[in-house]
Amino acid sequence: MKLLRVDRVSKFFSTPGVRDDYCVFRDVSLSVEEKEFVAVLGHSGCGKSTLLNIVAGIDSADDGYVYLDGKEISGAGLDRMVVFQNFALMPWLTVSGNIRIAVKAAYSGWDRHRINDRVRRYVEMVGLSGAESKRPAELSGGMKQRVGLARAFCVEPRILLLDEPFAQIDALTRGVIQEELVRMWLETGITIFMVTHDVDEAILLSDRIMLMSPGPDAKIMEEIKVNIPRPRERATIIEHPGYYAIRNRIIRFLSNKDEYDQPKRVNLVA
């Protein structure tokens, strides 16, 4: 069952004084299966974040459709929680306050006990017990994004949308959080759609990687299945025989934009 289906979505920006609209991407189609982890990988500025925002419903497509569970989406919703690159935490709320605001919004009928239980569970899940009453300004980037993850997970949405979630986190912390994300993904059985420009991150985390060409007129050019068995670990994944085949494929794609005229479907088997 396809949980998410993006059907020939296009996005244009119009600039005052310029006759032709700037096409960010055109006819982008993709789908995500239930419990799958899919990444869209592309250069900065190729419009992948815009694509994610369209799926989230906080931006709108100029053409095409997005379906969730077979129903066309209109606007944002609690069934699609976003984890933002810059965390987007409310700085005036504490760690648990930031998570509570989401639980409260999603389960307005719940009493205080139930809300607190849910908040506590997800604070624990992201390993922030003890830091509940801290404000975002007192947290490191890694801890901030843990709050972002907890806020997204605690609502128990149908799909999680990650917008370069670890780009602003230092490399050492990034690896730890990536592994924790995978653990939470497996534990909760949630579906994840991520956009990133980090090649190693995409390989480490995803089941499938969609390669997006640079804009304007960006397209999804290639789909790579990451056939590396889980659990994957940062330290050992590079020793897998399939790893460099995938990595080289992606690097070649990213460094040579003229190579592709037609979208391709490649299935690299390890």
Partner: protein, 257 residues
């Protein structure tokens, strides 16, 4: 700053006070047409030792008069602020409306609330109401301008989060927009409060509504300059106390992004 002179400013502050009082004393000793610090201190002691006396409708203790002014200030300020914040949120969320109304707000803001007084007095035909409306007028504009600005410059991410969480408009305003714009709004409230406190003195003086402004003018008519100076000091001190309260509020609402 160098370490070890944490208390230095206090000593300096005290020295300025001594310097000021000395200059004052010297001035009055030379020209003799102004009451000196001792005379004012004597009057102050007299007034402050019995702050709430009541000898008829026009002769009340300084504490009572201060409470009259503060009551008028609170009522006018709270109602003015509620209007200003409500309007400000609406304008902050509607860029077109904000742009269209901003020139008028700027003009209105530039008008001294005292200038409205004749018009207000003519309209409501009551001096107490007029004094209240002057305070109201003084309270509205800075808060309105600041609220609209604060709301319109709130980070788009916070709004996105509230959209994703499907918050209803009321929750959005109270849980995201107001706390997000909180520090800017309080900065506006502080300016409003300052201008309201400045406006209340001439309003009371001119309208004869009981209060500190009335007291200043009344004592001038009695040619009691010691009392006038004492009243000036009280007005300053009360103003500072109010500002300290707002400083506390600002600190509570401040956040580091």
């Amino acid at each position: 700053m160098k370490k070890g002179n944490g208390k230095g400013w206090l000593i300096l502050c005290f020295m300025f006070l001594v310097l000021f009082l000395g200059a004052w004393q010297l001035y009055t000793a030379t020209f003799r047409n102004l009451p000196g610090p001792m005379a004012v201190a004597e009057t102050a002691w007299e007034f402050l030792s019995n702050p709430f006396y009541d000898k008829g409708p026009n002769d009340k203790g300084i504490g009572t008069l201060a409470l009259y002014s503060l009551g008028r200030l609170s009522l006018g300020f709270v109602s003015g602020s509620l209007v200003a914040i409500t309007l400000g949120v609406i304008l902050g969320l509607n860029q077109m409306l904000f742009k269209a109304l901003n020139p008028y707000i700027q003009v209105l803001r530039a008008i001294s609330p005292i200038a409205w007084m004749p018009l207000l007095l003519y309209s409501v035909q009551d001096s107490n109401w007029t004094a209240l409306l002057v305070v109201f007028m003084a309270s509205v504009w800075p808060t309105l301008a600041n609220t609209a600005f604060g709301v319109s410059t709130i980070k788009k991410d916070y709004i996105s989060v509230s959209n994703i969480l499907q918050m209803n408009p009321v929750a959005k305003v109270f849980k995201v927009i107001l706390p997000g714009a909180g520090p800017t709004i309080v900065a506006g409230l502080r300016i409003s409060m300052g201008s309201a406190w400045v406006a209340i003195v001439p309003a009371e003086a001119l309208l004869g509504s009981l209060g500190l402004g009335y007291f200043v003018w009344n004592e001038w008519n009695n040619l009691s300059l010691t009392s006038v100076i004492f009243a000036i000091l009280i007005i300053g001190v009360v103003g500072v106390c109010i500002d300290i309260l707002f400083n506390q509020l600002a600190r509570r609402l401040a956040y580091v992004d």
